[in-house]
Symmetry: D3
Subunit: 271 residues, 6 copies
């Protein structure tokens, strides 16, 4: 095997062709964003994290990782601070839906029947659903009816046990984890050079009323851009998160797509 990469775009096409032969090599597509993540983290956290989860999961399951979507849907005030921050760079819903639809259909054209969208940006969720639905519709028109598409956000694999360890003082929900303990801990573990914890600003968790207003009241968002404080983040917590999420995603893929040893994947590729 000349090229051991799990990144599909790092392969020459004949290698890719042999790796995906049979249609049972899951294609993992990271979907991110360019979005402010506070004073202490860069703006592509939502690309880096799902791409790294996808890489690890691909290694364990004989899957391939597609190039990430580097831009995502508009930041929502209650889960990303709002789309008014400088640096946050977002797509209209229809742009994301259509690009995702196209990419899914292309991977299906290559013969792939197992695709998993690995989301790193909460706001993408419903537009991913729509992109999948439209892709499945058009693939059906092409006579392709055996697609199986998973979609997941890595944080949904953190169970109650882990939450208890990560948030000993109580957990307030994933939405306000924007730039908080979850993402900062993972970044500290995986990309410590891209975290400037000394610049992180401590503040109480954001509190929002049970409705939204547009244009947003900008002062509802903490001025840092984070929705909860990252001060309790640590590389150790990052390692815990990395482990439970990776294990959970691996198990989910195996359940849905069947187990397939990386070795057999490599063997297929080497033929």
């Amino acid at each position: 095997m000349k090229n051991a990469s799990v990144f599909a775009a790092e392969l020459p096409w004949p290698e890719y062709k042999s790796r995906v032969a049979g249609g049972c090599t899951p294609i993992l597509i990271p979907i991110g964003s360019m979005e402010q993540h506070g004073h202490h983290m860069p703006m592509h956290v939502d690309v880096l994290l799902p791409t790294e989860f996808a890489r690890r999961v691909a290694s364990e399951t004989g899957s391939l990782v597609a190039p990430p979507f580097t831009y995502g849907y508009k930041s929502h005030q209650k889960s990303g601070g709002g789309n008014f921050f400088p640096g946050t760079t977002s797509l209209d819903g229809s742009s994301l839906v259509n690009a995702l639809k196209d990419v899914i259909k292309e991977f299906a054209r290559h013969g792939n029947r197992q695709i998993c969208l690995v989301n790193g940006h909460f706001e993408n969720s419903w537009f991913i659903v729509e992109g999948i639905d439209l892709a499945l519709r058009e693939l059906r028109w092409d006579g392709i009816t055996d697609m199986k598409i998973m979609v997941l956000s890595y944080w949904d694999f953190v169970g109650d046990d882990s939450i208890a360890k990560l948030y000993p003082d109580g957990f307030l929900g994933w939405d306000i984890e924007h730039g908080g303990v979850l993402e900062t801990s993972l970044m500290l573990k995986l990309y410590p050079d891209l975290v400037w914890l000394q610049d992180a600003i401590d503040h109480p968790p954001a509190e929002f009323p049970p409705y939204d207003v547009y244009p947003p009241h900008e002062d509802w968002t903490p001025s840092t851009g984070t929705l909860s404080s990252p001060k309790d983040a640590s590389a150790e917590k990052g390692e815990l998160l990395l482990n439970v999420c990776t294990a959970g995603i691996v198990k989910a893929l195996q359940k849905e797509f069947g187990e397939r040893s990386p070795a057999s994947a490599a063997a297929t590729a080497a033929q």
Copy 2:
């Protein structure tokens, strides 16, 4: 005042014109769906409930209620059972976004500057956000920059105290309340003739893994279409819900749009 209705479309245009003069009469737009709600409830629950909340809130705040959106976004397995049920009749995301954008812009053309979208169908949420964003963008191009648009889902106004009373055995989240205690109790209170509780089927709450699959595994959804059992629903719980949600929404509107007595609204109209 010849016509006391709070429904905008029940007024002749000169009456509507005088009611909205000044731009400070909130327009409440119910956004629903046609979606299965189990064996015991009709398929327009998501239209009836937000329309009735809007009607009550309008009466207390001097607002007007626009015609409801009678169709909504595709039913999601984890919050509505999935879009594969017979009867469930849904729009593509872009259709909903564009229709909503158009309607918001038209109400702005009439001079209204305060709009509140009253959502009754969880899956509409993100497409409502996009519809608002696109409407505000185009209104800005028309030089209209003083719009204030609220969006809310009535269930978000149920506080922890009420939850404790409504769900004495524990609360599992709004998403699986599809066809369960929340909606059934409200319907028993408001539209008892449209509930056939004897046909309701008891079952344990739906459990889903932390990811989605498309096309959906249909057997993940209870065969009833409901995601939790309505057996503990009652008109009394419905009354509680009706009261707390109405009061909460009234208060939210007054906070965002300013207090405006129904009397003064009537006075304006009578001029």
Copy 3:
């Protein structure tokens, strides 16, 4: 039969499923608008009337009535006064086309093969045609080629005999009947509480040159918003119209979709 309603969305899904089993239960979809109708009528006349026609026709033919489209295409000066009136709230053509396309496809997904669009707003006409054409195209791509879709506007069923009775002084065409004798008489018969005839303003029929201008010369439209005077409207004329149109539509449905007694429809439902 637990639920005798002909409104599809008032049924629980299992009831709906049994009613439409076999695909031969016509689905009637009322298509309306929110549009000014003069000083004496509310703005949802174009929803109320086709919905009521659909309800009556459904009762006689064993059909079901889908939720109405509550917003329609832009009011045209020569048939609705023009889209500049306050209160008139319209969709772009593409929004209406796409929403209608989606809804037709969903009813086809449920197994229905007989659909009838019951139009209450003249300006919707061509966009209904396009919505049907696009729906049939996509259904064909899904292998569904046995759809039969009717489209009608209730006023087209008023024959010359009736016209002679209704307009003893001469008939000037359906287009200028906006807010005039036709609609007012029907409303007086069906929804007398929503007609304020004392507020109706008498005026000569609108006269237009043989071309249009955009933006419209607003003074071409009578300042009332009506295009002909409703002063000769009466509940008696409404009853005549109701009878001839209902009978005509029933006969048309039976001709195109086959006769199907309401009893047999009920029997199917009761199984």
Copy 4:
């Protein structure tokens, strides 16, 4: 003046620029179709006729004629026989709307403020309305608010007197004039080499029920494709039609856009 043509695209750009200087040179845009017109006429009748009307009107009013739209909206059974004939070649509604919107905006970019759409194909009507509305909206966003756009179909300028002469046995409406006396007479007058009257097939006028069905019952359309017989067509009737329609359109343009002698137009151009 080096080039006396009224066709804008036959001019070099500096000549065009001087002709339209000031914005008060009406631009006439013929909108046609490629549609069957029976056994005796070619398929671009709906392009030839409005283009020729535009040419004559332009000569008398100092206007310019833009290149025609050579394809139009889908043929409707009751006004064009239906879109199932071989040869009939049509656009989706949105394609026509968007192309027309673009072209109107471009002429406005050149400084033109007076545009007249000269329609030759009934089915284009509503999509022209939408194209104009969208163009005016976007031009408004560009700060251009002084546009005046006329739209007309030449046959609407035939008055009752002329109808009495043209149809001594009674007139059945413009919709079934497809390929009948109106169009055939005009073609005989203007393009006799493109009429093969010996191939025309006589038949009674088409009769349709007061509703439409899709896919169409093809046998509702006479097998010739014409909706009424052209047998009574003549070049003399064509001349009458040509004169009354040209005169009517000239008068309408002068009323809406102001009188402007062709001489003064030429003078402008000669500067």
Copy 5:
């Protein structure tokens, strides 16, 4: 054979039907623009030339010529001077793509399987590619998989030998031939009355840096609008171009679509 025209829209539909029977009559669709071509030529050069090439090629190959696209994509500075000139009247990319998609699909509906797009405006190129791709996709969904679509720009058939004769002082590329020797010579040969060579302005060839800027630096384009001087144009060069391009296109069509004598085409038509 009653009608010898090769223009499809000049035929009555029964004649068209017999000409295209079997699907092997190539349909040639000219795609042009309305674009400034200097002081010495009209603005529909890009319609006239491909239409005339198509006519000649059709005569020699038994093909038919469809109505031309009279508007094209936006003029690009380096190949058409830029879209800021008065007179240049262009479509958005999506408008051109969709209209072309529709027209291709309609010709396929008539049974045609051989289509050739004859482009006269460089900027159309990629949008033609997309229009074809989308048409083939949708035709595939309709079960039509035997389409063969050619696309060509006539100037690509000028070989090195001809270039040597036409540009004895050196050839600088087709892009800057806008309004230069190529087009002017062809127009002198084919439409001498539409060339005013005395108004042509001599200037050195346009020079552009290896990048583009938007909005364009208008002064990069010679003020004439032409990108190279037409002073060396002649009818003789036009004849040479006409001959080599026509012959090349004829040969290409015969290679791709098979040889088919015009006589046999006529015979088919005469049956």
Copy 6:
């Protein structure tokens, strides 16, 4: 200055904000593709190369590099082998246009007025033009009229001198350089671990007729996917290319956007 990266998404938002203050920091957006590049190179060559050019240029000019577009327009047979290869994963034209439009508008919202699109995939060219045009239009509607957007493809900066050195046996045009000496040499210089030159397959340059056919004749493309042989590629040639293109792009940016020392950029950032 805490973070010296030129990649915008590697910065925290306050740092980004200070770097772009004043609007005169050029934003370089690499536009790539996932496309087969022969047996010897990976499929993201068109992302890697423009991103690296952008990085170098940004360092020398005080610019910032935005996240790359990882997917591009469909591979064209004559410049990329054709879109039928496994691995090649492309967007519809409208998807690319709209995503690019959105991203440009977002950077403008941040206050940036200087943007440069750095293209690495020939087929993107026209859709980039359209994306820019639509973005500028909508920005104009937002009152932003001082944008300056450059677009370039790095290979256009290779001058004749360099071509003579790189292609001593003659140069056949950039289009058939797909996977050939140009790209392979650059990859050997920049990413030698991602080139497997031993797997490269030597073959004569692809030859194509002067027209295209769709669906493509797959056998027109060399079976390797490359359009010319990479055998003469070398890291030395890559260094030459890297130097001339980088220098050329730097000079172009300075000419269009003004000179701005990286030091002053850093100084701005440090404030």
